[in-house]
Subunit: 467 residues, 3 copies
């Protein structure tokens, strides 16, 4: 009950009172990576290893860091090399190395899922590995542990998944047909169409042309095709777009310059600098589209993707080899903000992997531009210490109301309630300190905890608008 | 009474004891932006909106960040656009949006002023807005709420304002004539004369020539004119100069090189690189002047000024659109420190908006160079969390005695005691933790809190010298 | 007893329990700068000033920062200028300025040594200076205060010193002859042979050729000579190499390119860029050598050496004038990690002076690459706040088991137990918070504290292998 609250008795008491006001509020998950087919098809989860280990790069990278290769953990290979397929063998590896996760959020989330979803309260170890595996396996076949049942039990109000503009959204169509259309929505993520450095870009642009019946040989056709997909995504519930760029650079080109750059890239002649300029300019184009269609832009720059070459060659993208790097927002965002930063139609949620920007750049920017909101601590920072430092760093300059609420950002469906619960507890602890130190009256802290947990994300991500 | 102290009972008890030793010490305000005419003329404050909202860019930018434009808040326009003039209307906007300030220092300071200066203890809200407005308005006309009476009541020993070398210091002359010359002093801030990129620079240099009767067509004349103004400022009580540069770069040019650069800039031919070189070199020139005349140099680099173009076009400078950026001190200051870093006549107080430099650059530099002191956490960092992090970050390397004490840095005269009180409370809390953890004996903490609150700033800013 | 523990009663109680499990474990000191002659010759320490002040640049730089030049503190000069030689006079300067060290680790360590080694419990001051000086002086001549006796009393299991490849390791030979060979070991530190920008580099390379009887006129000869010295160091107990580069840049050149660069440097024609390329490439060469001979690589980049020119001219290197600067690891280490980052034979311990890299770069890198471990907070960060922030920053991403345990990194032999004790107490406090907040069970925290204090450094530095 007092889990994650400060141990100081005054703060703990207040944190408990505040948490009570937030814990049962429905979950708003406006940014995540759950596969929509999971909920569209509602098929049972295969086994504990494929639920907790294989798809979770937080887990596999930690084991890899101590010498257990991803192939032994069942991570699919892209180079044809052999991978472990026996779920129980994978599970035993996790159990035997469980101490690596001491002090990490992965451990917190996993144990919460064990306990609150599967009723498992023993600690994972080599001794308990098989029993826990069997217990969870047994439950996975029961109807109340199928995805849609869990969705309801988890009290999720809305879950956004993330798709490329090339995605045909068939899972979302099935969900809509089943009456789940407003509960599971999509997000428009065009990175693979605006990054000429991403292998296969020209082919994907061509596919965009085919999918939309548009001539993408011209820049204006390319923009028209993207607009057309945005319409389609909005029809599938999307209220936001998502942009994962290497940097936060933005650039305003005129139509002629942009067209030249686009043709150069299509022809394969774009160098690194051209590619960066194109991506930077496309953020401005997407901002313009947002002025018209209202999609909230999410921008999360600063990850050096596929840092480990050998990992990338063996297992492909998104398997734990992405590393943050120093990120600059103040000069990077300036062209976009000069153009549209005080347009009330524009809304941008900024994320970071570089904590140093919290007080220095992000809070001051969000604290003056109407368009800007600060996204939740992301990826390596969505942990008790990371969440706490975020509030301590940004609140004094940006307040609470220029932040966007928690985003679980996860592929791991079953961990969603655990992640939100951690965030609610940490926010309760932070607010409790403000109250205990005479910095905020209790009644205002009470209103604030509910805003952070529920009302703010719903409003910032425009999930409160009639469909 | 326990406001802002840690809630741990051991620490809270000690913090209270330490705070008692500091709370009634006179205020030393060596760095700030109060208009000296306020105290020279001693006219009553106009109304609560013009006291608490209009001139305070911390307040107006936060409201702007949620879509309330500065024009509705009475911020004067420079482009002729209309602005709200009804103080009560502005006040009601503040009240209706008071929750935006939860967790911010603006709220702390404002409520302390309400309570301790105006005896208002109700919380601002749409319901209480008019009553509070009327209560404060009524008091503003009473003699004991005029600026000089408040100055005395606030127990301010010395207040430094900040002026351009072009300022004729008439307000300070009036203050001196009234016997207030040693209580309200000026600070020499030559930024507008050393930054060729600041529009109108040549005109201001010409004005400097006229004011001093010097031929500023030559570089040596320019230096002579600056020296002459420093003398005049020192006669008006100045003990320090203040330098707000984009970066911390310093550069030693010989007289010939500097003269070439100066002429190029005067002729309008200086590019961004030349301008940076000129500013960097001028810091070295000012250091040389300080060797002779003893002015303490304050250097606060790292702000990207006027980031929001639309704000700048509508409302001009210093209205909330400045954003910090990453700042480098180690290589930047090296030329100046190589030349004069261990000259006992030189004293430089370094400020930062980039917290990452606290442990990495600033504490190590101040912990070896006799000339260097660390200025108080500044601007976005002069808050309970910012002040705490500063002590936690710098003390272990620089100790307490290479820091310069609190600087309120404010335009908001009535908030001065509240700001100093927050700093004293946070320092008491930090020292209490050291005592509670056995890291410092109580008697030494007691001596330290008084040094931080009073003796250190007085000594570091050379305010303890006979006039 | 509760020294440095959190003052919250719950946490304090748990911290005490955990600390009990660590406090008597033997000390593993895998990275430090004690002069091996001290233990080889086992001569008494000369006097308190030469024990506590003269060789400790933490102490001398702080006094210098307040205007007491190093020459008055007995720091040897390299330019022939006079320095104080009277130990008592130096001691009195320390005593008179003792308050400068309030809140610093130097004070904590010194007082622990006073109390636990010399039985001195009075606080240093002008009043007590002479009495403490006499008391310590008197003990330094007693047999139980000679270095080897203290080594045993300190419960040091193994102490690594650090030597240039040019060192003939005569002290280590004497230690081996006396049966101390496995207790005091060396570390291979080749910086002075791989940095063409370090004055005298060509002469040192020539000396390497002579020492090894190798033709270092060719690049392959140079590599062979280095390999030969590594063998000799390994025979003298070395289990690691140590690399203090300006940056973390690595570079893979082919043999031809490297040979060209080497010849250019030998000929004196290498510019700053060539020198950086050579150092960067040599890190890769050392990694290759480690694959064969098993030396653990320690990399600590990011110090701007000899920042204070006047200090450097008067007193030479390593006297307090080195200042950290921003350090980049993600792109810098990539070439090396692409080549060998998942080779199980390679082990690299990374240190930093730039805390901003803890969450952003170092923890994510160590949390995925098998070769990488995070070294203890180093230099300006090996303090209660620095150690705490390290755990808070890295644990959630890298866990405890990708960290390497405490490294005292000191020249000050008598302070070794005090430094380890501080680290054990801070780790106990951090773990106690995890337990108190329900983030780690007590029994696992108990196992972890012993791992951090003893088992991890022993294993990571390969000190658990049979000699």
């Amino acid at each position: 009950m007092t889990h994650l609250f400060p141990s100081d008795p005054t703060q703990r008491q207040i944190a408990g009172e505040l948490y009570e006001l937030a814990k049962d509020l429905p979950l708003i998950s406006p940014h995540g990576h759950v596969d929509p087919a999971l909920l569209a098809d509602d098929t049972p989860f295969p086994d504990p290893a494929r639920l907790f280990v294989v798809p979770d790069h937080y887990v596999t990278r930690m084991l890899a860091s101590q010498g257990i290769p991803q192939s032994r953990l069942g991570v699919p290979s892209v180079d044809g090399s052999e991978v472990e397929t026996d779920g129980r063998a994978i599970w035993r590896l996790l159990a035997a190395n469980w101490k690596l996760f001491r002090g990490t959020p992965s451990r917190l989330w996993t144990e919460k899922v064990f306990s609150e979803v599967f009723g498992v309260d023993s600690t994972l170890s080599e001794v308990t590995a098989d029993a826990i595996y069997d217990e969870i396996s047994g439950k996975l076949n029961q109807p109340e542990f199928r995805p849609r049942a869990l969705f309801t039990r988890f009290n999720i109000e809305v879950l956004a998944t993330t798709e490329s503009p090339l995605d045909e959204l068939t899972s979302h169509a099935k969900l809509a047909a089943d009456g789940w259309g407003s509960r599971v929505i999509t997000t428009f993520r065009p990175d693979d169409l605006v990054d000429p450095e991403w292998a296969g870009w020209q082919n994907r642009v061509a596919a965009l042309g085919e999918l939309t019946g548009t001539d993408v040989g011209t820049y204006s056709g390319f923009l028209a095709a993207l607009r057309s997909r945005r319409e389609r995504f909005i029809a599938a519930g999307a209220t936001s777009s998502d942009h994962g760029h290497p940097t936060a650079a933005t650039l305003v080109l005129d139509d002629g310059e942009a067209a030249v750059l686009y043709r150069k890239a299509l022809g394969g002649g774009a160098d690194a600098r051209d590619a960066e300029a194109f991506r930077a300019h496309m953020l401005v184009e997407f901002a313009r589209m947002s002025l018209d269609d209202g999609l909230v832009m999410q921008l999360h720059p600063g990850s050096v993707r596929n840092h480990s070459l050998s990992l990338h060659h063996r297992h492909g993208r998104d398997v734990g080899g992405d590393i943050p790097s120093a990120t600059e927002y103040v000069r990077g965002l300036r062209p976009l903000l000069d153009a549209y930063g005080d347009d009330p139609r524009l809304r941008i949620v900024l994320y970071t992997l570089d904590e140093t920007t919290f007080t220095r750049e992000l809070a001051p920017l969000a604290g003056v531009y109407p368009a800007l909101y600060l996204g939740a601590p992301w990826w390596f920072l969505d942990s008790p210490e990371g969440l706490r430092r975020f509030r301590e760093a940004v609140t004094e300059t940006a307040g609470f109301y220029n932040t966007a609420g928690f985003a679980d950002d996860t592929r791991a469906f079953c961990s969603i309630p655990a992640r939100h619960d951690v965030a609610r507890r940490v926010d309760a602890g932070f607010l409790a300190r403000l109250v205990a130190e005479g910095r905020l009256p209790l009644d205002e802290a009470a209103e604030t905890i509910a805003d952070l947990a529920y009302h703010l994300p719903k409003r910032v991500f425009r999930l409160d608008r009639p469909a």
